[in-house]
């Protein structure tokens, strides 16, 4: 029966982007690019835009739509996505397709309830939206009386009908990450440790469209190569949201030894943080990132008191974004679980912040405390040395 032909495609709905004014085109083009790049890894698809929606069309029936939809909903800027049946035709075609579609939603083990929701964009279509719902519902019930029942309040599934220049049917709506497409929000450098917080901070900035690079300070043998692998594993998880991610691994051992030999133990944590920020800022300039991002949260540990943050910011000639600054640790943990980094973050390897920790680090350091602790330290030399010992891993 030729009238029963349809194509199965993915419909992706856009959120905040559609509120943009003159820039909207730029955001949309970036989103299409991001989705296309992601889909290229898993198969052969085109991404086509109509109004505030994107259509992801497989090039042939060999493509894995389920995998594709998982990719699409992990791209920032997509609010939700659905696998849809799409076809042309009038009421007769719609009813026949709707019955066939409903049949795919049935469960042989029990009777399911359903309802129909319709939207008519094409005002030439002879029925109104409520009339479409009721005709489609009747046709489905007439064809599958033993398998389905109608429940308009709490149905097991909903058949959505959209009549525009083509007709679409779908039942499943998969939630997306929302946010803005990566690449529309500038370029930042994320200080990535092995902990719970920094991957979440990176995720949050990427969700606002920021393109990321990451920097990790490795102090082998004080930190093990397993700690390094863990950081790379975290970065790999982040790529599901950020797309390509370069991790810059700084060999930090000699600096850590120099600081340890030079600084009073209670200032070591702050001075170490300041060195990391200096190196990160110089690296950021080199790769043209305009901001540093950290996972710090106010008051969480000794190096994250207001005074400590002020002291570290003082050495950085660019803004430092701290998206977790006002979050409770439990909320950060929830986010980490949701984005899939938590289980990796809690693997018990030392990160370089925990190797040389004084029993009682200074929690309220002043700028002059920090300057004094660093007196006589060859800061420029150490920074240069660190910059010359960076390994890049592109994920």
């Amino acid at each position: 029966m030729p009238e029963l032909q349809h194509e199965t495609v993915i419909l992706a709905r856009l959120g905040e982007i559609t509120l943009k004014g003159l820039n909207r085109g730029k955001f949309e083009r970036r989103l299409i690019e991001n989705i296309s790049r992601r889909l290229r890894k898993i198969g052969s698809f085109s991404v086509v835009q109509t109004q505030s929606r994107l259509w992801i069309e497989p090039h042939d029936d060999q493509q894995d739509l389920e995998k594709a939809i998982r990719q699409v909903v992990s791209v920032f800027g997509v609010v939700s996505a659905s696998p849809v049946w799409r076809f042309r035709g009038g009421l007769e075609a719609l009813l026949a397709q709707a019955v066939a579609f409903a049949r795919t939603q049935t469960d042989p083990s029990r009777v399911l309830s359903f309802k129909v929701e319709s939207r008519r964009g094409n005002k030439q279509f002879p029925l109104t939206s409520p009339e479409i719902s009721s005709r489609v519902g009747e046709a489905i019930m007439a064809a599958l009386p033993d398998r389905l029942s109608v429940d308009v309040h709490q149905p097991d599934f909903t058949v959505y009908v959209e009549v525009r220049d083509t007709i679409c049917l779908y039942a499943q709506v998969v939630k997306g990450q929302r946010g803005l497409p990566v690449g529309t929000g500038g370029h930042g450098l994320l200080l990535l440790s092995g902990g719970i917080d920094s991957p979440v901070a990176g995720y949050m900035m990427a969700s606002r469209g920021m393109e990321l690079d990451a920097v990790y300070f490795h102090a082998f043998p004080y930190t093990s190569d397993r700690a390094r692998e863990k950081v790379l594993a975290l970065a790999e998880i982040l790529t599901a949201y950020t797309g390509r991610l370069t991790v810059h691994i700084v060999d930090f051992t000699d600096i850590q030894l120099a600081l340890r030999d030079h600084c009073p133990p209670d200032m070591l944590t702050i001075v170490t943080r300041r060195m990391m920020m200096r190196i990160a800022a110089r690296l950021a300039e080199k790769i043209r990132a305009k901001v540093l991002i950290t996972g710090e949260s106010l008051g969480q540990v000794a190096s994250q008191t207001l005074e400590a943050l002020v002291t570290t910011d003082h050495v950085v000639p660019m803004p430092v974004f701290r998206p977790l600054i006002g979050l409770d640790k439990n909320d950060t943990v929830d986010l980490a679980r949701r984005i899939g980094t938590f289980e990796t973050s809690i693997l018990p390897y030392e990160d370089c912040c925990t190797v040389f920790v004084a029993k009682h680090p200074k929690t309220h350091p002043s700028l002059s405390d920090a300057a004094q602790a660093e007196e006589g330290l060859d800061i420029e030399g150490l920074t240069e040395q660190a910059l010359s010992r960076i390994e890049e891993v592109v994920l």
């Binding site: 043998p221 004080y222 930190t223 093990s224 190569d225 030894l257 030999d261 018990p348």
Partner: protein, 380 residues
């Protein structure tokens, strides 16, 4: 070429073991419980291996229960003794020096209503016999003690433990966790006077996946694994003739080599420490002066054990920090702390363990690498 000095964690199978295991995997694949000829051939191979294993361990073949490894053997000894109905109370005596396999099983048994007493260690890393004496004034369902400590090499004295038990609580069975003892100190089950003795193949040249529990006929024990009734119902599950053959082959070399290994390890240990002294590297030996010689625990001043392990690993020299099973948990070290060492000493602890395949050159190289790492990384 790498230098492997972590034989307490695991060992490399010897060529004879590899040859036996590979050949048997290919040829002896039938189920030894099957009645056909191939099954009977497999059974014959298994019985032959069991006989050889029993001979090396100093017991009758009937006393031998083959298991999947040390942890299963220990679980079976503790749970099989304490959870069965018996006239003895559900009271377990262990020491602070136990491996996690005993320590955590005991903690679980507590949740099942058993009472567990954790006896202190002396500064020499062995159980405090006075404390055991006091504890045995009340009846107990089982005494379980580690024979050779996996972190320090400290050796408990079975004769004195058995004598105490015989005098104070003759019905209480004794289990010794001998996982680190076989091949490192001379030991025979029948002469030991204990009721249960566990062991693990991969600690002395067999592949991972096989261990044993030796049971004296007087000791009543419930099975942990139920099923087809293999091994007289003590341990169900299809028997594994190739693995048993590999274990027999490993014991063929390890048990007769016990004394030679002790001599070699003792000289390696002395050689290593002498080289550290000569370079001015500061350290404390944590192992007691008398010990199972293949195990040497040392703490370096101002250098975390983990850091030294990482540094040596970069030079393809492999040692352990604390116990390999607990080093990734970031906790302090229970055994070393129970011996009275302070937190800084415990943090600096590493374990170096020798095998007869190590060479004097390897010990020199390892000592040189430790001296270099200590000079660069330690901040005493």
């Amino acid at each position: 070429m790498s230098i492997y000095l972590d034989h307490t964690a695991s060992t490399r199978p010897t060529p004879a073991v590899l040859e036996t295991y590979g050949r048997q995997l290919a040829e002896v694949y039938a189920n030894p419980s099957s009645p056909h000829q191939a099954g009977r051939d497999a059974e014959k191979s298994l019985l032959d291996s069991r006989k050889r294993i029993a001979k090396h361990l100093g017991c009758a073949p009937d006393s031998l229960i083959l298991t999947s490894g040390g942890s299963e053997s220990i679980n079976m000894a503790l749970k099989g003794c304490l959870l069965r109905s018996s006239r003895l109370p559900r009271r377990l005596l262990i020491s602070q020096g136990e491996h996690a396999a005993v320590w955590e099983t005991a903690a679980w048994l507590e949740t099942q209503g058993c009472k567990v007493e954790r006896l202190p260690l002396t500064g020499q890393g062995v159980v405090d016999l006075d404390a055991l004496d006091r504890a045995l004034r009340e009846p107990a369902g089982l005494i379980s003690l580690i024979l050779v400590n996996n972190e320090t090499g400290a050796v408990n004295d079975p004769a004195r433990i058995v004598a105490l038990r015989d005098r104070l609580s003759p019905k209480t069975p004794i289990h010794l966790d001998a996982v680190q003892a076989w091949g490192k100190i001379p030991i025979t089950f029948d002469a030991s006077g204990v009721d249960l003795l566990s062991g693990s193949g991969h600690k002395l040249g067999a592949p991972k996946g096989i261990g044993w529990l030796l049971r004296h006929p007087r000791c009543r024990l419930d099975a942990l694994v139920h099923g087809g009734g293999q091994q007289k119902g003590y341990r169900s599950g299809t028997e594994n003739p190739p693995l048993a053959a590999a274990l027999a082959a490993a014991l063929d070399e390890a048990i007769p080599g016990t004394e030679a290994l002790a001599r070699t390890a003792r000289s390696y240990s002395a050689l290593l420490l002498a080289e550290l002294d000569a370079a001015g590297t500061r350290y404390t030996v944590l192992s007691p002066p008398t010990r199972a010689w293949p195990i040497l625990a040392v703490s370096f001043a101002g250098l975390r054990g983990e850091t030294l392990v990482n540094a040596l690993s970069a030079e393809s020299i492999y040692i352990a920090s604390g116990s390999a099973c607990s080093s990734r948990r970031g906790k302090g070290n229970r055994v070393l702390t129970a011996m009275g060492f302070d937190a800084a000493t415990v943090l600096g602890a590493v374990r170096i363990s020798f095998a007869r395949t190590n060479t004097t050159d390897e010990i020199h190289s390892a000592a040189r690498a430790i001296n270099t790492a200590w000079r660069r990384l330690a901040r005493p």
